[in-house]
Symmetry: D2
Subunit: 383 residues, 4 copies
């Protein structure tokens, strides 16, 4: 079960995610769900007026309803009851300056993915987080699902044998219409390749998280499935993992009629696992010498430690995306609370994706873009 | 989208649901999710020491961490910043005295199902709620799912034509082991028939909610699927609805290997709808003159008003049981806020199940038990 | 694997199932599939001209293209190369006279379900089959599916423990339109209750076949889901099996938008099995102490003897309804070939449904109709 | 409905597929199912004794139970009642000599896939078939499924708009064990790449058949998922279609625990289609502006002409692999019968895969092997 008691509640400041923002509401619900945070400060918009009003609407005191993120970080740094952490959910191109200042002012950071707009920025953030000794979570939120953690734990425990094949998909229809929706994603603020930055990094990280393996080489076909548009909406790639396993990946936001479409299918010597975010409470376990098995949270104690720790309710009640997102928030809160209490860190593996996972996402983007330009295989740069 | 702004946050007092209680944690998450409540008072256990300590652990101030529900209701009634509402999640046999006093002291009430331990008690509560003019929600939580509301709205709009056949299932394995688990449910505090009270009322209400029709007659087979045990764990019933539609119901908590198992399948002149709580984000729409259709929240504006109003996130992200539960809490908060503001009630239909739905649940239990005793069809008493 | 070698090919005569008859084409494909029959004689229609022409069109020699079933049975009885068996696929009300004469003339019989138009007729046929020592198959064709036999074998082997709960469904849309289609089924030639005779007997037998248990008592709600029509299109029933297990059944051909809809779900002490004819190659195995398992034919040797003997192809290639139907034909051919060869019968259990299974189907119909008339529980008559 | 009447039954000679051969039994059932063939000659094994005995066991007359395929082709060519066609189901490396002689002797040919062992051989066969004016079917059997044809017809009719993305999978576990099974497939007689020849060509052709588009370029990762084995068991490829559509393909017979695993998912401007051979009677239709639809054969007249013509039974009865295979045989019989009758060919598009489809399969294999060797994109050679 998800723990709902920690030392004291974490004081959180929000940056971005103002009115009408889906990701903003998602972060806020994730922070509220387990009662581990007090949202006490916010800079919710790049427009000063809107930023302050939105914070007031959320019930934040007038004094801490800030007009800009710079103002918030500086003012909070000076308060005796200063926030412990900031959560960043602004457009990609502002992640770097925000994270750098937040780290410099001594805050722990939750940052939405992708970590930054390019690999160099991402590496700078990671280096700064190391020097400031900050806790840092990149919200690759799909790693929060109990069945994703079940998969990871089973693979770690050798239940599939050596991993041999990985197939990742993220097939959406968000950009399948011929007219692009307005917004920063399609206005050039999303980095070198929209589809890679926006959803490709999610699929890529999911594969790494579940297998515990890094991709070392890849060959990618990146471009526009829908001709004539100025953004990438399609990538398919051949992957080679560090242990020699082969993989492939199909990611697009232009597959008309699709819904969410994130999934993995992984095979090792002894069997395979398949998971779809659209039915997140089921994990298909194919076994070479036994019938297929459907793993769910029903048999609580029979699930892995990671699955148990990420579950709130039982007996078949479905959990969803918000609970998965909240798992990252709650685990982050527990780490920060440990730091505040000054106690030695627990021996529990950090489950939430780290800043180095964020860097790897950008390395994947860089290698894919380079592969497309050269028409062949490319190495993926390491940290 | 679920509205997350109301006049002011509702002050809530909790009764029951202390440490280790799954339903307690569920109610608390539901209250937290949309940020519409402040949980400011609690009487969390029948043991005074445990009650107070649990409240403190939840972060409730010492003054309002009560030793008993009686103490809480009397003390809160006298405070200027008194709670607006209480949420009752105690064993069934205490619902009646708690609800009666809470209503007498002027509080609005959220009460877990079944409303009371028998039909007479339920009617008394309903009558009292009427005289005190209270808002009253019975947490038949499965009505909070967007796709359940989609089904209700489609049927109301005549998309299935006249309703002809209803089939309800709630097939669990909770009591499939030969040894009964300990707890009030199996210790005689759950009313005349455990299976009917505990989960039968959920299935029964779900059918009524979705079709908008009441059952007028039934013929039930109630008993123990597992021989020799002192409690009921099985009911199957033939149903007749007020419009002449035929129905049937299979409810058990003793079907070994089952998971949650709540579902409905309903057919009208033009087609049918099927929903399973285990995959709550899909609604199967069978059409007589067209191919089967899978309704999801993907095409937001194409879903019904009720589905849209109960949805938090989009593009295929799954929502689950906690969000459904929270929908009842949030709608209740909105009603109470309207009352507090003294503004005329909105014209929006109350979605959350009412006290009269609670009474009907007990009428179903009474008719089923009587049918089993007589071996034939019985009328279901009206309010 | 299905055996495709027997002593000699069986000489078969067809009665009914002429041009345009779906069931006729089904029987013929079933006879052809494994190459165990020569179709050498036929009386394909009640119209003498059409009967002869249809037989010629099928490639049957002019001499044995008969104008009527009476003519065929008498003429064949007199031939030295006479047919071994007849296959009867005429409207229900002619089964009795045809089967009686066929048995009297010494033929083995394959007869479509239901065996006869009422229980008395069915008992007469069964008695005659006994006195003439004939092989007799009633084509409850759904028992031919490998996964249905897998279920039967697992239950026999005790893998579910004692059977406690049975739920059967057969939910079609064939008569969901307000205007009844023309044909003998809706013109009063289908016995006392169309829905019970036409598809109810299939569901009922499926439950008995898989569990190995007979129903001893039932309480049924039989009638028209669509008001005002002169035929039954709906039955829901509460069942009690000989071992005390409880069951229920929902059978209708008037559920708008449904497809085939035959399924069973059965629970014993240790787990449950669920099967749907629409996805016949999967058997869902719910286990009380392990995760759900999907049984398929993939692991050939791990499936039951009955499943293996009914399988033609492997490695996931789907088999369907025609193969299931052919399994009954081929097993019947093997029995007849054994009889012709004069060798002692093999010790292999007869898999194909027998004449006594046919009688039980009519007993179920009779008890259901009586229960509806009296409004209460009725005993099901034994053979 | 599948037509079961033609001019006269086709006289067929079998080459290969003797005792114990799964593919042999499959071809024979396919030939028997619709009653359009008489199997009158056979050369069933490369061992003369076994060849003759196996033919006798199948009921073929002693005179036409041949010791070798050479003997059969020469002897049959000289008979007045000579066979019309031969069906070839021998190991890949014998397809070329057999087909060449069969064509030279004036027979029509059904040949299992792949057409030959390399592209040059395949082109020779195609050229010879043209000069001898023979009917030629390559049994890419999965194109025989009604829902596959439904997909093809829908795409032809523009229901998906312009095709933009194609994803093909064929993920089996046949070679997932570390020890290779014995047999010609793993003994070097399967051509340049086992996985490409054995199942890759199936997936590749399926994509071309359904979309009506050829692949013009590809970049492939071909090799052994299981290290150290001497055969290929894995291919993943990036595809470019003639209209600019992008595609990808994942084909392996070494994914432990998998079942059959053939599927396609195709997206155009307006929506997408997805089909899995393991559930062949359902076609998932995702629509950009409407809810997902599940296309089945239930609404017969609402399905496409190609689906209707390949369907034998209705109302939800599942059809399977053998029926799909039989569809190719029956359509081939109809073409041959037309040729025998000397009537002008019907205007009906030939549905069964042709010799040029066989050539394209080998071109795909050649391009994939070359791409792997060079590490980049390669053109796929045209006919």
């Amino acid at each position: 079960m998800v723990t709902s008691t920690i030392g004291r509640r974490i004081r959180l400041g929000l940056i971005g995610g103002g009115p009408g923002s889906i990701i903003g509401e998602t972060h806020r619900i994730a922070a509220r769900l387990d009662g581990q945070y007090d949202i006490v400060a916010a800079a919710l918009s790049s427009n000063p007026e809107r930023a302050r009003q939105a914070a007031l609407d959320l019930g934040i005191g007038a004094e801490r309803a800030y007009a800009s993120w710079q103002q918030m970080l500086e003012a909070e740094a000076a308060r005796p009851d200063r926030i412990d952490a900031v959560a960043v959910m602004t457009p990609n191109d502002s992640h770097h300056p925000i994270c750098m200042l937040a780290l410099d002012r001594g805050f722990h950071v939750i940052c939405d993915k992708p970590l930054a707009n390019d690999l160099a920025q991402a590496r700078e953030i990671a280096a700064r987080a190391k020097t400031t000794n900050a806790e840092f979570c990149v919200t690759y939120c799909y790693t929060g699902f109990p069945m994703v953690r079940q998969a990871r734990d089973m693979i770690r425990a050798g239940e599939l044998g050596e991993i041999r094949q990985v197939h990742l998909q993220y097939v959406q229809s968000y950009l399948a219409g011929h007219d692009l929706p307005a917004g920063w994603r399609t206005e050039g603020r999303a980095g070198s390749s929209l589809v890679l930055m926006d959803i490709g990094t999610h699929a890529f990280h999911l594969g790494a998280f579940v297998t515990g393996l890094d991709v070392t080489r890849l060959c990618a076909d990146v471009g526009s499935a829908i001709p004539g548009r100025p953004i990438d909406d399609y990538v398919s790639a051949l992957l080679r993992y560090e242990n020699g396993a082969r993989g492939s990946l199909w990611v697009t936001n232009a597959a008309a009629g699709s819904e969410h479409g994130l999934s993995f299918r992984i095979h090792g010597d002894k069997g395979g696992l398949e998971w779809h975010q659209e039915e997140p409470n089921r994990l298909i376990h194919r076994r070479q010498d036994a019938f297929e098995e459907i793993i769910t949270r029903r048999l609580g104690p029979a699930t892995s430690e990671g699955a148990q720790r990420s579950t709130r309710i039982a007996i078949g009640h479905p959990e969803g995306y918000l609970e998965a997102f909240a798992n990252l928030y709650t685990e982050f809160a527990q780490r920060v609370a440990t730091r505040i209490a000054g106690t030695p860190g627990d021996d529990q593996p950090t489950r939430f994706p780290s800043v180095s996972d964020g860097v790897k996402g950008l390395a994947f983007v860089a290698a894919s873009v380079k592969s497309m330009a050269t028409g062949g295989w490319q190495d993926v740069e390491r940290m």
